[in-house]
Symmetry: C2
Subunit: 318 residues, 2 copies
């Protein structure tokens, strides 16, 4: 008898799968994203789903449906994905939904955007449960977002929620999208790393890259940034101050336009820097609110790095 739903969060570094039954996570599995090609990535997803089912004491015959949250451009009708630059082989058109469905004997597979899946996860099973109008902002490698208005996930023409590309500093830092002054150019981990490298090149001192090497990393991960902050590293402090200022302004602008009940702040950096970071973002936002006496609740995620996988089960009807 079909009774569990599996959700998968496909990322550039990891594949996270969860098994959900009656809205409760009863199993999960995580593995590194293969660095080779799209075929290997899809095989990794199938293996993760099997492993997660295993931890729940379930098998493929217990599967009701599968949901997958993925970066890139998603054709929800066909389950195809493209333009996901950080997943090997996923810049081209990849038949993700059909391939995974076939591996599980035609089980229904729903594919959607990874950030929207995460917002849905927090809305249904996490910090967003008490609210019907909320914005989720995920501060990680980039800055993604998703909107729930009147209890429904908003797609707009397909890309609603892209708060990372609201302009917070006209003429400011160059963003990955090539425009100037986007929120992501200040708050995204990759932009923070670029800014740090630029400052080092121009003679600034920082422990950031020392910490990175000691931790055996090849990039400024959230935990590298967190440790530098703990050590009082001036450059790390300045960069995170700028990120908080940018987030506060963008969230205030979004709230002034939408008059929300709640804003949920997550993502790798948001989760790692945790409550003190979220409170500072809230204070910065408050300065720019149209109606400061009635601010939206500003909350951490409850599901942490499971938001996306749990949300994928919701999108799959689980």
């Amino acid at each position: 008898m079909a009774e569990v739903t599996v959700g998968v969060d496909l990322g550039g570094t990891k594949i996270q799968a969860v098994v959900v039954s009656d809205r409760i996570v009863v199993g999960q599995s995580r593995c590194a994203t293969p660095k080779t090609d799209a075929g290997d990535v899809m095989a990794g997803i199938v293996a993760s789903i099997r492993a997660a089912l295993d931890t729940a004491g379930k098998g493929p015959s217990d599967l009701r449906a599968i949901g997958i949250g993925t970066p890139g451009s998603v054709d929800a009708a066909t389950g195809h994905v493209s333009k996901a630059s950080n997943v090997p082989g996923f810049m081209d058109d990849v038949p993700l939904g059909p391939t995974v469905s076939e591996a599980f004997e035609g089980t229904c597979v729903t594919v959607d955007n990874d950030v929207r899946a995460a917002v849905m996860g927090e809305y249904r099973n996490g910090a967003g449960r008490p609210y019907r109008n909320l914005l989720g902002v995920f501060v990680g490698t980039g800055v993604g977002g998703g909107l729930i208005l009147e209890g429904e996930l908003r797609h707009g023409l397909g890309n609603a929620g892209e708060i990372g590309h609201m302009t917070v500093r006209p003429g400011g830092r160059r963003c990955s999208c090539h425009r100037l002054g986007c929120l992501e150019a200040y708050a995204g981990r990759m932009s923070i790393e670029q800014a740090a490298r630029h400052h080092v090149d121009t003679g600034h001192k920082t422990k950031l890259f020392e910490i990175m090497e000691r931790k055996g990393r090849d990039r400024l991960t959230s935990s590298v940034i967190a440790e530098a902050l703990d050590q009082g590293d001036r450059l790390a402090i300045d960069l995170i101050d700028a990120a908080i200022e940018a987030l506060g302004l963008a969230l205030a602008n979004a709230n002034n336009l939408l008059d929300l009940e709640a804003i949920i702040v997550g993502g790798g950096l948001g989760d790692r820097l945790g409550e003190p970071f979220v409170r500072r973002v809230e204070q910065e936002m408050a300065k720019n609110l149209r109606i400061p006496e009635r601010p939206p609740a500003v909350l951490q995620t409850e599901l942490g790095d499971l938001s996306g996988a749990v949300g994928a089960t919701v999108l799959a009807g689980g």
Copy 2:
């Protein structure tokens, strides 16, 4: 037999009433807003409604319902209004809905925000007809806005759509709301006038106030600004350039967040400066879009200064 709906747009300078039958405007009336007290303003509204019915060859017995769009804070449940600083006596609590209802023998009166009424008018009967996801921005004394998402007018917690108070220039010009750098501080007519006076005080030359006096006005109306632009007045050109830049940025930010189908630009200044102004706003917006190859349609209002009154009939179920 009840068959027509009346809509009223209450403003600081005029009261506009329309009579609508089967979505067609069949009568209208306009008068100056009394400058005395709330009682006179409400009497003026009642007189406007009677005059509009007259032009349609109808009487009070033909009234199905009345809708009123008003500035200020509206209690939709009771029809009371307060905090409307530009309508005499309307800073205090005014029983607008009940008073007008009583004057028409208990006819149902719906009271809502004037800008939201105008957006509703354009959505149902004007430029917004082909769309289900749109933002209306009304550039007048201040800058107001309203959102239709998935075919429904959004209220949020009561103030959704306040695009005028999105920050476009952190640390920039002081706004009427006391914060710095709001859209309204650059694009609202009153802010433009303040900036012009400040520039004159600091030695700038302009024909703006000469034109104002010649036209017998005591403020820089939209038509004064339009004439100065026509005469190539440098200060007027610079101020409108700044307004367009601010509008382009705010609209791009709103669109990046909401992924809209259309943006409608109206209001006293928007309507007066017309199509060339709207096209320049569109070009400025395009620079800041996340997905420039799929811009929203940017449109003038179709109903012009009747948007609000027609929209009020829609809010009244007409």
